[in-house]
């Protein structure tokens, strides 16, 4: 159990911190070494300008993970506030439910492209676009949980025992919602990374000079037919590995916080 939790997290953080340490200046154009296939001096090969693909991939990973993290955080926060609003009054609940249905009825990618395009793309456009498309799923879960716990006899009783709204929020509602929020966060994270890569690949996301995985993949399209497979293969696999590592961690983490530990602590005392 412990190993299942720590191995993916440590690997993930190791690759991420490795990518942070890389300076952008170390990726230099070296036309004498262009179009080289993978070797010990260039693990992932070089591109048509002689840039080292290993460094470029790590740079891209750094950007993708940052975007994923920021987006997941923003979406979860937005979901929490909307579900809170829905719990106040049934009219507000109808509005929030209607918004959820509206956003769920549109394909993610279409809305994402629209929002990102309107905001002019770039880091800001992508993050806002991802945030505005990834909140409905977690809001739906949190809203249901919130409505359910409000109806529980022990919560109604808390009011009659003289406890105010904030006390109930802190002691009844938040401890109940927090596991859901954490699970929601970990599930949005890889989703957001993949969508960022997709939208950048299509050309509506990050601009071409930024070293994002999506940019690398779309550029490599032109060279794939001439046999330069390493331009797309290694960045793609690295992105996949990062997503799988995080999902591995997320799944174990989910099981870990959902487990009933009441008996454990009782018998250990």
């Amino acid at each position: 159990m412990r190993k299942q939790l720590w191995i993916p997290l440590v690997l993930f953080l190791f690759i991420y911190s490795l990518s942070i340490m890389i300076q952008e200046e170390s990726i230099t154009i070296a036309l004498t070494e262009k179009n080289e296939s993978p070797s010990w001096s260039h693990l992932f090969g070089t591109d048509w300008l002689g840039r080292d693909m290993f460094l470029r991939t790590l740079e891209g990973i750094q950007l993708s993970v940052t975007i994923g993290f920021v987006t997941a955080l923003l979406s979860t926060t937005l979901g929490f506030f909307l579900s809170f609003i829905a719990s106040i009054h049934s009219v507000l609940d109808h509005i929030v439910s209607w918004l959820i249905d509206l956003f769920l009825s549109l394909p993610h990618l279409i809305t994402l492209i629209l929002i990102s395009f309107v905001l002019g793309g770039g880091f800001r456009g992508v993050v806002i676009g991802l945030m505005l498309t990834h909140w409905p799923v977690i809001t739906r879960v949190l809203r249901a949980e919130w409505l359910q716990i409000q109806e529980m006899p022990y919560v109604q009783m808390s009011k009659q025992l003289g406890k105010g709204f904030w006390w109930r929020t802190k002691h009844h509602f938040l401890p109940h919602l927090l596991p859901q929020m954490m699970v929601g966060f970990t599930l949005i994270f890889p989703h957001a990374i993949l969508h960022e890569a997709a939208i950048t690949f299509l050309g509506f996301g990050l601009s071409a000079e930024e070293p994002a995985i999506g940019v690398i993949l779309s550029e490599s399209m032109q060279y794939l037919s001439s046999g330069m497979w390493w331009l797309a293969f290694f960045p793609g696999v690295t992105l996949l590995v990062m997503v799988v590592l995080f999902q591995w961690f997320a799944n174990t983490w989910k099981h870990y916080i959902e487990r009933d530990r009441s008996y454990e602590t009782y018998f250990n005392n």
């Binding site: 006899p153 022990y154 009783m157 009659q160 025992l161 401890p175 109940h176 009441s262 009782y266």
Partner: protein, 199 residues
């Protein structure tokens, strides 16, 4: 004295559940309330204890802000009335600092305090709920079928203690039950909810 006058409550699209119920309970008195299933005894209890707002009528005891309600309701199912994720200690502390006197009188073992609700039996948990209710120092208690799911011995135990407490602390108890014989033995007077809520 708890005075309930002309209490009326209706359910949306279903008409009146009960109308013009008038009832009073003296401090230290145990009043029984009986009647068929589904005629609104529990809803009546919730209205009096402040969980629901009546359409008409008045109750002379209301909750002050951030104070416990002077009329406390004890629920039929104790396992729904406590947060399943809390230890018993925290459950009791929700009503205020733990008073050992009540734990002793209700025979609550101090080792239960660090357990979780699902590690106690129904009768034990119901006693926890009663203790929590008493720690708010209520003037009146509504006991809504509080011993229905317990065996006769536990039932007798709980009512013995509760009756004693009612007399010594002069807390008025409104006991709701289907079990007419129990109410006959236990209470000072027993009323039928059908007669009370007659239109």
């Amino acid at each position: 004295m708890l005075t309930i006058s002309n209490l009326t409550y209706h359910i949306a699209n279903k008409g009146y559940l009960f109308q013009n119920v008038t009832l009073s309970v003296q401090p230290g008195e145990i009043v029984g309330l009986t009647g068929h299933s589904g005629i609104g005894k529990s809803t009546f209890a919730k209205v009096v204890a402040g969980y629901l707002t009546p359409d008409e009528g008045t109750i002379n005891r209301v909750q002050n802000k951030r104070q416990p309600h002077p009329v406390q309701l004890i629920w039929q199912h104790p396992e729904q009335a406590v947060n399943p994720k809390w230890r018993i200690k925290k459950v009791l502390e929700e009503a205020g600092p733990i008073d050992d006197e009540w734990l002793e009188r209700l025979q609550i073992h101090s080792s239960w305090l660090k357990r979780f609700p699902d590690q106690l039996s129904g009768g034990e948990l119901q006693r926890i709920c009663i203790a929590r209710c008493l720690m708010t120092r209520p003037d009146f208690i509504i006991a809504d079928e509080i011993t229905t799911m317990l065996d006769p011995i536990t039932q007798a135990d709980i009512w013995d203690v509760l009756r004693q407490i009612a007399k010594t602390e002069s807390i008025g108890i409104l006991a709701i039950s289907h079990h007419y014989e129990l109410l006959e033995r236990l209470t000072d007077r027993t009323l039928s909810f059908e007669t009370l809520s007659k239109k």
